[in-house]
């Protein structure tokens, strides 16, 4: 694996390998000294073209726990505001020879584009409304820890605009309910007449969910909008577990990219599963 650009690049074996590695790093996170030397002397560059404090700090923490050097580069207040193109910013920063670039942009396909311009391993930390593969991995990791296995589970994703069902009458049949935030920054105008109407039709609360259903949310939550306050605080919500999983999964991804796959000499730390990745047809529907 040279880059992590989209979740579709990973086959099941690849996903399971990363999940297993994240499991091992969980143990590290529970130690008093939460650090291993796996990426000592390697450099991870966080290049963020939009504010995403939790994703950035999660990646930063992951890299630091692996002993990598971390440089954070935010587009605001930088050369980007002086009109530098994405390509030139990447070429300039590449001159510092980062081993990995964690890239967050509002533009679909930007990570793939950047991967063609430099030799660093690119981790897509969200490219607009397109892909956010570490989010997918941490969700799987969270669910696997909670449920043991997710094979056969019925998972409902609740968001306006996810055009599968428009009403929530059958919601009780789900094992897992995944709520998404109203992403106002990605909407050029409003999709609902009012938040009140949205909350009335789509808010997940004690009436819509049964206590056995697992509730997920990628954060940040709009309390009182897509989720009621009491459901956020209930034990069925795994929202903070997702945040915890974010760090160990991102550790596993950086480890996979920089330590496991790239060092031909070092023996794989793991009973390596299927190493080769099967690339699913470009842009195939998830």
């Amino acid at each position: 694996m040279n880059h992590l650009l989209s979740i579709e690049e990973l086959d099941r074996a690849g996903i399971e390998r990363i999940i297993a590695q994240a499991q091992r790093f969980t143990e590290v996170s529970e130690r008093e000294i939460k650090k291993v030397p796996a990426l000592r002397g390697r450099m991870v560059l966080n290049l963020f073209y939009e504010a995403s404090t939790r994703t950035r700090s999660s990646f930063e923490l992951a890299a630091k726990r692996l002993s990598a050097d971390v440089v954070n580069f935010a587009a605001s207040g930088s050369s980007v505001e002086k009109g530098e193109s994405l390509k030139d910013t990447v070429l300039t920063l590449s001159a510092h020879k980062p081993d990995a670039i964690v890239l967050r942009t509002p533009w679909a396909g930007a990570s793939e584009l950047v991967s063609k311009w430099c030799s660093a391993a690119i981790v897509n930390a969200g490219d607009g409304k397109h892909e956010h593969p570490t989010q997918a991995l941490l969700d799987v990791y969270t669910l696997q820890r909670r449920l043991g296995s997710i094979d056969g589970s019925s998972i409902w994703i609740v968001e306006l605009g996810c055009e599968v069902r428009y009403e929530l009458g059958e919601l009780h049949t789900a094992d897992v309910v995944y709520a998404l935030r109203m992403q106002n920054e990605r909407m050029h105008d409003t999709w609902v007449p009012s938040l009140r109407e949205y909350a009335a039709w789509y808010q997940l609360n004690g009436r819509r969910l049964t206590p056995s259903q697992v509730l997920m949310h990628p954060g940040p939550v709009n309390r009182g909008v897509e989720l009621s306050g009491e459901i956020v605080d209930s034990p069925q919500a795994v929202i903070t577990a997702q945040v915890e999983a974010g760090v160990v999964v991102r550790m596993a991804v950086l480890y996979e990219l920089l330590a496991a796959a790239r060092s031909a000499t070092a023996p794989p730390p793991e009973p390596a599963g299927e190493r080769g990745r099967e690339r699913v047809g470009e842009g195939q529907l998830a």
Binding site: L86, A108, G109, D127, H130, G283, L285
Partner: protein, 451 residues
Amino acid sequence: MSAENLLCGGLQGPPAEILLRDVHVLDPRAGIDRRLDVSVRGGRVAELSEPGAAAAPEEGHETIEGDGRLRLMPAFFDPHVHLRTPGQEHKEDLGSGTRAAAAGGYCGVIAMPNTDPVLDSAPLLRSLRDAAAREARIPVGFLAAVTRGLGGEQLTEMAELRQEGALGFSDDGEPVESAGVLRKALQYQRLCGGVLALHEEDRSLSRNGVMHEGAISAALGLDGIPTVAESTMVARDAELAGYEGARVHFQHLSCAASAEAVAAAKTRGWRASAEVTPHHLLLTDEAVRGMNTSMKMHPPLTSDDDRTALIRALREGTIDCVATDHAPHAREEKEVPFEQAPMGTTGLETAFAALYSGLVLPGELELAVLVERMTAGAALFGLPPAQIAAGRPAEMVLVDLEEQWTAGEHGWHSRSENCCFSGRRLQGRVQLTLAAGRLVHRDRALAPAAA
């Protein structure tokens, strides 16, 4: 102003003196589809004679042997190109754009007015026509803006622009959003004439869209443009034109519903014509999956059902002609994330080969129909279409229908390289183009062979 004077340029070299021996002449308008000798003297077709019967040319004049294999067709006419002069010469200029057109087999093009500054005043048109007379490889006609600065509000001085040689008017790149403003322009057409060419787009529907709205835009996380953004405006403006008895031309149709609206308008006897681009006839939104910015244009590449409907409409004549909407952009402008890239693909150098390979070879369109549709744009704007007949100025293209080539393999004549067909294997290659009686393009493989 006479029809000939409406085009400028293409008179750089000496009049052509050439004998095309035993070429297969295909001229649908003249009803010719057979092997002939065609001799050109002083830039005009001197005679058509039985293969081998033409007299040997004078000393120093060139002879090209067609061996009954090379096709000679009336050269193409493109009513919709962007030559980017003035103001954006880093993308294209009158010279490079018309060299690209000559290489594609064209003997005339019409440039759009969305330049910088916008072509919306007679003095600017005059200077542009002067520049074209000096710099253009083939004749160029100009459309002036419908509204000042393409602002959609105040009409340009249409009558004066017509006197200065505008073939018609268009706000291409922008819709004329207000029905009231368009209606005034249609009424004013009674005074000044000139076709009103319309870029149809309801901005309240297309909004910030960057591709066709559908499953693929959803999968890619890109904002979509629904086809109704175009088709509802086509229907509106066809009816306005019918009401005012005005003459309108619909630019770059991209969907089935728009073609249906044009068909309905024609059935009612409204004076509407329409064009379609090679990319809308050959590509669909599937091509956007790789987020190649050369696949980003307006209107966007649509569904396969739309594409099929456009082919049918072109075949049946609902759509009158092919136009490339040649829209060059510099490399640095296109080498950005998809959402940031400007709209447009180049098309002049690939149009014939792409359509021959993609429609004629698979049997979807007859070659004669393709040639008719690639030459029909001239008459729609009041110009005589190219014809291979004795006494006519030489406006012809010689094509090797068997030669295969890869688009862009030797670079481009255009200053820009943002071609949606780049890298495609194509069949059918222009060998020689004559425009305005001059030899304006010769393929690198075709060495001069003086008799």
